[in-house]
């Protein structure tokens, strides 16, 4: 795009500038550091010019929004047409309390729901299981059977609001519960939309909420791809997630590379099942983290879109442009929230959210300022939601598409992120794919190393975290702390006992038996069997127990 002569001139002038203006300036005022680096440890230059991207090709690298390679955005009008979905991840205590929080958020202008489940639910245990001790409702809402799901979505129009569910090992079961709630209300499955996270690979890598070994886990995931494509066409059957990888300590590059590689594995698994790639790929969605280094994050999002489009088209032969789209949700980085001076988190979240918007996100969760202390209070979550509304309605950044496109720095960095991701792809290819890499502990080790390096930088004050290792204050924390209703667990346990007592237990036994038989036969898609169990009010724990018995449980290699 830049002609050679012009580039030569720029280089020449830059050298002159370095010898004169810059030298004089440095002599008077040396720079604050010898080396400036981003969070992925890439050196960042003082200045970027066309000479840093000499062979930049606009049409090849950026193109136009809504067209391959989608670097500038997946939609032709982006936020001029429709704002991103404001989707606040929420859930705590019993279904009643979370339902109330959903309604509170919708009343305040939230445009999509996102469910956080408690840890027993995430691992597929009922609340009264001994493994669930002390965990009820702590990290999210407890859902043990269809009865809880009915209350959770009571009064919420499932055909109008889309719902994202952060659920992985038991994703097929929780999705089936949602589908049956819709069915019981007479809402056709073709009308409901939403997302199940359903991304087990990042569980092995980072979040660690796995249950089954990789093979049966991948089978369950492909079952949902296949079922969704046929019966629930507006549902995103997976949200391939970098968020948790990043939270575990990964750099932006690692987040980008491991997440996209996980994506490749799911596509491969779908194709191996015999599905046409264009049948399921348009329903694959992504989930990224928005961390502190503003431009690095923006470059990451742009690089992700470009890589995904290229790999889907070239490596996997997808023909439908929708299969090339990398649609993604973003959450601001929980790990950057500080318990010290929590009000400062409002500012961090705003800047991170802005990076997500400038990176072209399709939906966004903004963290609440109090999340390093407890679950968010109503006040904190409202400010977090308002942050998105201020970005959307007051800053003007939504008026034009990809406003940072063409910045020498951002384009340079987008390229660098891409190159670094491909380096990881080659390494993982050489190991025989992501599952083999996980079994070797490769991504886990890379992440642990990065996490340790980051912590050391903070401890040694090479990296300043405001209020933590600099600008420290010992004023007491005055923001309100959210408490969950201690009655919730009792209510939930009573409901669970009533479900077990009042349902047709013979029907439950038969449904579970059919599920067991189907699980033992690899040719079966398990979704219809799970749906039957759900309809009969079999509990989450009962279904998962059957699957645990057939599939076994995964034990991870311990990596420090």
């Amino acid at each position: 795009m830049f002609d050679k002569e012009a580039l030569e001139k720029i280089k020449e002038r830059q050298e002159q500038w370095e010898e004169t203006t810059l030298q004089q300036w440095l002599a008077r005022l040396p720079e604050r550091d010898e080396l400036f680096r981003n969070l992925s440890d890439m050196p960042i230059a003082r200045l970027y010019t066309p000479a840093d991207i000499p062979d930049f090709d606009y049409l090849e690298e950026l193109g136009f929004p809504g067209e391959y390679p989608f670097t500038r955005g997946i939609h032709a009008t982006m936020y001029r047409g429709r704002l991103w979905t404001m989707r606040m991840f929420s859930g705590y205590g019993s279904a009643e309390e979370t339902n109330e929080r959903f309604k509170y958020l919708l009343k305040h202008g939230e445009t999509g729901l996102s469910v956080a489940f408690d840890t027993p639910t995430l691992y597929g245990y009922d609340t009264d299981d001994p493994m669930a001790e002390g965990e009820f409702g702590k990290c999210g809402v407890a859902v043990s059977s269809l009865a809880d799901m009915e209350i959770l979505f009571d009064g919420i129009p499932l055909d109008k609001v889309t719902t994202s569910m952060t659920i992985n090992a038991p994703a097929a079961i929780l999705w089936a519960m949602y589908l049956v709630v819709a069915e019981k209300r007479g809402i056709p499955w073709t009308k409901i939309g939403g997302t199940i996270q359903n991304d087990i690979l990042k569980e092995y890598i980072a979040q660690k909420e796995f249950v089954f070994p990789p093979k049966p886990s991948m089978r369950l995931i492909v079952d949902t791809f296949e079922f969704g494509a046929k019966y629930v066409p507006k549902w995103n059957t997976i949200s391939i997630s970098g968020y948790h990888i990043r939270e575990a300590g990964a750099t932006a590059v690692q987040e980008l590379a491991f997440t996209l590689y996980d994506g490749f594995e799911y596509v491969k698994a779908g194709i191996e099942r015999g599905l046409d790639v264009d049948e399921f790929a348009p329903r694959l969605s992504f989930f990224f983290n928005a961390h502190n280094d503003f431009f690095e994050e923006i470059a990451k999002f742009r690089a992700a879109r470009r890589i995904w489009a290229r790999e889907m088209r070239n490596r996997f032969g997808a023909k439908d442009p929708r299969s090339w789209w990398l649609r993604f949700h973003t959450q601001t980085a929980g790990c950057t929230l500080t318990a010290q001076q929590p009000e400062n988190n409002i500012v961090r979240v705003a800047i991170q959210a802005l990076a997500a918007v400038l990176g072209g996100t399709q939906s966004l969760h903004t963290n609440s300022m109090d999340e390093a202390l407890a679950l968010p209070s109503e006040l904190a979550v409202r400010i977090a939601l308002r942050t998105q509304q201020i970005i959307a309605h007051e800053t003007g950044v939504v008026n034009t598409i990809d406003p940072l496109g063409g910045s020498y720095y951002v384009e340079y960095l987008t390229r660098k992120m891409e190159e670094a991701a491909y380096e990881y792809f080659r390494k993982i290819d050489a190991m025989g794919g992501m599952i083999a890499a996980i079994e070797k502990g490769f991504p886990q080790k890379e992440i642990a190393d990065a996490a340790y390096r980051y912590q050391k930088e903070i401890d040694e004050k090479k990296r300043i975290i405001v209020g933590v290792n600099e600008y420290v204050s010992d004023e007491p924390i005055t923001i309100p702390i959210h408490k969950i209703d201690p009655e919730g667990e009792r209510r939930h346990r009573e409901r669970l006992a009533r479900v077990r007592r009042e349902r047709d237990n013979e029907r439950v036994r038969q449904c579970l038996e059919r599920l067991r038989n189907a699980a033992q036969d690899e040719r079966e898609n398990l979704m219809p069997y799970i749906l039957d169990c759900v309809r009969a009010y079999a509990t989450l724990g009962e279904m998962m127990k059957v699957l645990r018995e057939v599939f076994g449980e995964y034990r991870e290699p311990i990596i420090i």
Partner: protein, 140 residues
């Protein structure tokens, strides 16, 4: 004679999968010259107490971010004491609200390290406390 190395068990009680902090602390303690055993995830209080006994550790570090600390941490201390591990220093880290800290200390958790604690603080605390415990055991 060189001082005997400090042995630390880092454990993740409950269903909480957030192991970033546990691993970072494990590595920092190791770099500070301690011997560190990491249990991995999803440990019950019984499993942790048993591991502490088997590994003959000076310190048990419990990392928990799930909010289940009031149910799991006092129970772990109690089981350690029941096994006769009275000298084992038990510390905790994670997302633990301030108001729970006094209750945990009463239950035998010597110190709680919240978010933002430097690894150096933890290293120094453990070194000092273990030295103190060793001295008092020698004199006893």
């Amino acid at each position: 004679m060189a001082e005997e190395k400090i042995r630390v068990l880092i454990a993740k009680p409950g269903l909480d999968g957030h192991d970033r902090g546990a691993k970072v602390v494990a590595r920092a303690l190791r770099d500070a010259g301690m011997e560190v055993i990491y249990t991995g995830l999803r440990q019950t209080p019984e499993m942790i107490a048993e591991a502490a006994l088997q590994e003959d550790v000076d310190v048990v570090g419990l990392s928990i971010l799930s909010g289940a600390h009031m149910a799991l941490l006092p129970k772990t201390v109690q089981l350690l004491r029941e096994k006769g591990l009275d000298h084992v220093l038990v510390v905790a880290g994670g997302i633990i609200p301030d108001e729970d800290v006094p209750k945990l200390k009463e239950a035998g958790i010597a110190e709680v390290f919240g978010p933002g604690t430097s690894t150096q603080t933890i290293v120094e605390y453990i070194r000092n406390k273990v030295a103190e415990i060793r001295r008092s055991r020698k004199n006893a």
